[in-house]
């Protein structure tokens, strides 16, 4: 029996054909993965199925019945549920409150919390998804929060579960747990659609894999009949070297040195405790850690968004008393933010306007405060080519670019600015392998040019592959310093979870 079938789905956005007559059919009780680059049309297709977009043309069948899904409400009615990349949970509510939100059991007009509690307990037992129903969501690790999301949609009777890049925010251990969960759901007869661009995972878990490229279906492969390299070729359309190139450079003078840095988090508690490290010209220092262990605080202090409670930051061995984004940029810092939409780009701006942000006051982009549009256009055309931003049109608004291309635009912007120090905060977040490979090459290039690079990442393979030195952040402290040749993913994983400490070799 087919759980879901789409026929000739076409979605036309202004200037972009996001889905070009896509045909897919998903069997009941199957784990079906959809892979593809950023902007390949995976999310668009899922949003069509979930009723967030209406297709330009095409038909959707759910359990062999032709349906017309106009809103997510329709989709839920058809027993389709979606676990979004960003969780839709209310941190101050308990697990139970979150799960029943929108469909609460009640006694008359009073919310029946006890009944809700028992319902959630039963549900979690039935599917073997362990949660503490009375715990506040804010206190839960990301992996468990995701479990709450899953329970939420299961409670609504979902038979088809769509996961939009579920492993992007998880640690390796949490990913393992998620896969166990998925297998359990499969045993229970649920159908799972799994969107990802992590090919290793997809190969491990999926029964069938559909590959999308530039809005078109490239092919469907069965479990066990493909390899990572072959799949990668299908996704990107050419051979990809997944290995990260190593570059030996001479480490030179110290560019940034941080001493005893203590920073408060947005919530007002100490998020970073007495952290000290140096970054030298020509080296990449990687910071590993599970999200929320002080990375945001470190970045905010370095870029000058929050004032440290204690400690100093020195640039070129000159201590900076007050750091503002304005003066640290002048000193020569480039910054690739983790949140592209919020910190990296002005979404309604065109590529040509975005790419000069931060260097717009410099010659040749402007003279005496008047912008030189001809120079800006020339520069943008050149950079879009160099950084392979698609579409090449310099007038595309950032809002209409896909995530990967937004990231490339940011790279183009930051790397063309004069700088000595690059702060890269999760530079490959949400990128596909093609774009990732690109980012890695650019980072290595930067290193070869003698830049000091601080790389903050959740991806261990990235940290291990790129860094010359690795620092591990746990609970706001550096719990270990090591080099890639002296450690491995398991050890780093344990350190990230605070289960193992390693003495710092240097300070």
């Amino acid at each position: 029996m087919k759980a879901l079938e789409v026929k000739d789905i076409v979605k036309q956005f202004p200037g972009v054909l996001a889905n070009d007559s896509i045909n897919l059919s998903v069997n009941k009780g199957e784990i079906y993965a959809i892979v593809g680059e950023n902007g390949a049309g995976k999310s668009t297709l899922m949003k069509i199925i979930y009723g967030l977009y209406t297709p330009t043309s095409g038909e959707i069948f759910v359990f062999d019945k032709k349906v017309d899904i106009k809103t997510p409400h329709d989709a839920i009615g058809l027993k389709i549920g979606m676990v979004h990349q960003e969780f839709m949970l209310i941190p101050r509510f308990t697990v139970t409150q979150n799960i029943v939100l929108g469909d609460e059991p009640s006694k008359g007009i009073v919310f029946d919390y006890k009944k809700a509690l028992s319902e959630v307990k039963e549900l979690s037992k039935k599917f073997g998804l362990k949660v503490d129903p009375a715990e506040k969501v804010a206190n839960l690790p990301v992996g468990i929060q995701q479990r709450v999301e899953i329970l939420k949609i299961l409670r609504r009777g979902a038979e088809i579960l769509i996961f939009d890049e579920p492993t992007a925010v998880l640690t390796p251990e949490e990913t393992e747990d998620l896969f166990k969960t998925l297998m359990k759901l499969k045993e229970n007869g649920k159908t799972i659609i799994f969107i990802s661009h992590k090919l290793k995972e997809v190969i491990a878990i999926a029964d069938r894999i559909a590959v999308l490229r530039r809005g078109k279906l490239q092919g469907i492969v069965e479990k066990g009949k493909t390899s990572e390299v072959e799949l990668a070729r299908m996704v990107v359309g050419r051979d990809v070297v997944l290995k990260i190139p190593k570059a030996e450079t001479k480490v030179r003078e110290t560019v940034v040195s941080v001493r005893d840095l203590t920073v408060k988090s947005k919530r007002g508690i100490i998020g970073l405790k007495e952290v000290s490290f140096d970054v030298c010209a020509g080296e990449i220092v990687g910071i590993a850690g599970v999200e929320g262990n002080g990375q945001a605080e470190l970045v905010n202090a370095l870029i000058g968004f929050t004032r440290p409670v204690k400690g100093t930051i020195a640039f070129d061995s000159k201590e900076l008393r007050v750091i503002t984004p304005f003066n640290i940029r002048k000193k020569g810092m480039a910054y690739i933010p983790k949140d592209r939409k919020m910190r990296g780009l002005v979404l309604p701006f065109r590529s040509r306007e975005n790419i000069i942000m931060g260097q717009h006051t410099l010659y040749p982009f402007s003279k005496n405060g008047v912008l030189n549009n001809i120079e800006i256009d020339k520069f943008t055309t050149k950079k879009l080519e160099e950084f392979d931003v698609r579409p090449r049109d310099i007038h595309t608004r950032a809002r209409n670019l896909s995530g990967g291309n937004q990231q490339k635009l940011i790279l183009a912007k930051e790397m063309s600015m004069e700088h000595k120090f690059l702060l890269a905060s999760q530079p490959t977040r949400g990128l596909d392998i093609g774009a990732m490979e690109f980012v890695y090459h650019k980072l290595i290039e930067e290193k070869e040019r003698g830049m000091a690079i601080l790389l903050i990442s959740l991806e261990l393979s990235e940290i291990l592959g790129l860094s010359d030195r690795i620092l591990v952040l746990y609970n706001g402290e550096i719990v270990g310093e090591t080099t890639p040749d002296k450690t491995n993913e398991e050890e780093l994983g344990l350190m990230m979870l605070g289960l193992k400490k390693k003495k710092r070799v240097t300070k």
């Binding site: 036309q12 910190r343 002005v346 942000m357 402007s366 008047v370 912008l371």
Partner: protein, 382 residues
């Protein structure tokens, strides 16, 4: 040449760019329709009312057209000034309610510099520019106070601008006009003394009282447009306005000094709105009266909203509101109160607030039409 011109003024247009023009027009049209329904409900004739309203508005030729036309432009120039005051701040993500305060601060400054001794004897070509510079500084500083409080102390500009409006009002009406700036008793004038001849704005269309204020404000509008779209300053203001919902993090992270820009933006907004007050004193009243019939500042918000915060749009909206106000008195002949145009103005703003909905409907209309045309012609969707 034509290409350069196009490039300079328009840049690249996207598909459906005309939607940005059509939506305000449709909103205004809807406002007039609703206005007509109101008149009809009260048992009067909308046709007669609109005929009278537009006949005396100065927009269309007719009896006494010259005088209506000049009156319209006189008030329009003030609406455009306050409208720009709001629009400039809005482009930078600031909600400036202070145009009323800037307006009267500009007025009182113009009055003082117009009659006070050391200046009053100067030749016109020195005196008038001097007054304008004084007005710009005074209005600008009044605006910059709110900008400073927002940037350095984090106090929301809506609160501070409203408070500054009242401070300005009471400083002027409860102190200056009846105190230090009061005209001598023997002259028999209430309010400040009349400004000297050299301070009056030159007339351009005698015998009407139309003066160069409209030319000044059109020049200012062009400068503001240039500032917005051709300079780094305007670029920075726009980055701030577009990222308001994200706390302006992107421009901050890019090293734009958001705090300083906030103060500067509010300075310019205040200065331009203050020009409106100067036009009032230098071109219409020739003194600062004891009680000032205000409202230009608040109408400026409506003008800016209808004009979509774009300089050209503000000019057109300012002319529309000016025309409505000019024709307002005549609608009384149709037994309709002269405040009726305010109702239309209110509805126009209301429909502008619903612009997403109107845009959506219009888009549907356009797309639907296109589809049927395509199928008629046998063309595929591709």
């Amino acid at each position: 040449m034509k290409d350069v011109f196009k490039r300079f003024f328009f840049g690249k247009r996207e598909k459906y760019w005309w939607m940005n023009v059509l939506v305000p027009l449709v909103s205004i049209l809807l406002a007039f329709i609703v206005g007509a329904i109101f008149i009809k409900i009260t048992g009067r004739s909308p046709v007669v009312a609109y005929k009278l309203l537009f006949g005396a508005s100065g927009l269309f030729p007719g009896p006494y057209w010259k005088s209506h036309f000049s009156e319209m432009l006189l008030s329009s120039s003030m609406y455009i000034a306050t409208g720009l005051g709001f629009a400039i701040a809005a482009k930078g993500g600031l909600f400036n309610i202070g145009a009323e305060g800037h307006f009267i601060v500009g007025g009182i400054t113009a009055a003082y510099l117009g009659y006070a001794k050391p200046f009053a004897g100067l030749p016109k070509f020195i005196h008038l520019p001097l007054i304008i510079v004084g007005v710009i500084l005074a209005g600008g500083i009044w605006g910059a106070i709110a900008g400073y409080l927002k940037a350095k102390r984090g106090i929301h500009e809506v609160i501070t601008t409203i408070m500054l409006n009242w401070i300005a009002l009471y400083l002027i009406e409860a102190w200056l006009v009846i105190g230090p700036m009061k005209a001598a008793v023997e002259t028999g004038i209430s309010g400040t003394p009349y400004i000297s001849l050299s301070a009056k704005l030159p007339k351009i269309l005698p015998p009407t009282r139309l003066n160069i204020s409209i030319i000044i404000i059109l020049a200012v509008t062009f400068l503001i447009w240039y500032l917005f779209y051709k300079t780094t300053f305007g670029y920075e203001i726009r980055t701030m306005g577009h990222t308001l919902i994200f706390g302006m993090e992107a421009p901050k992270a890019a090293g734009i000094n958001v705090e300083r820009k906030t103060i500067q933006t509010m300075f310019i907004a205040g200065a331009v709105a203050a020009l409106g007050g100067a036009f009032m004193v230098l071109g219409v009243l020739f003194q600062y009266p004891p009680i000032f019939e205000g409202g230009y500042g608040f109408d400026g918000i409506a003008v800016a909203l209808i004009g979509q915060n774009e300089p050209l749009g503000v000019v057109l909206a300012g002319i529309l509101i000016g025309a409505l106000r000019t024709g307002a008195t005549t609608v009384q002949l149709a037994h309709i109160p002269k405040t009726f145009p305010s109702i239309i103005e209110g509805f126009a703003v209301g429909f502008i607030a619903l612009q997403m909905l109107i845009r959506y409907w219009l888009m549907k209309l356009v797309r639907g039409r296109k589809k049927s045309v395509q199928t008629e012609m046998g063309g595929g969707a591709k």
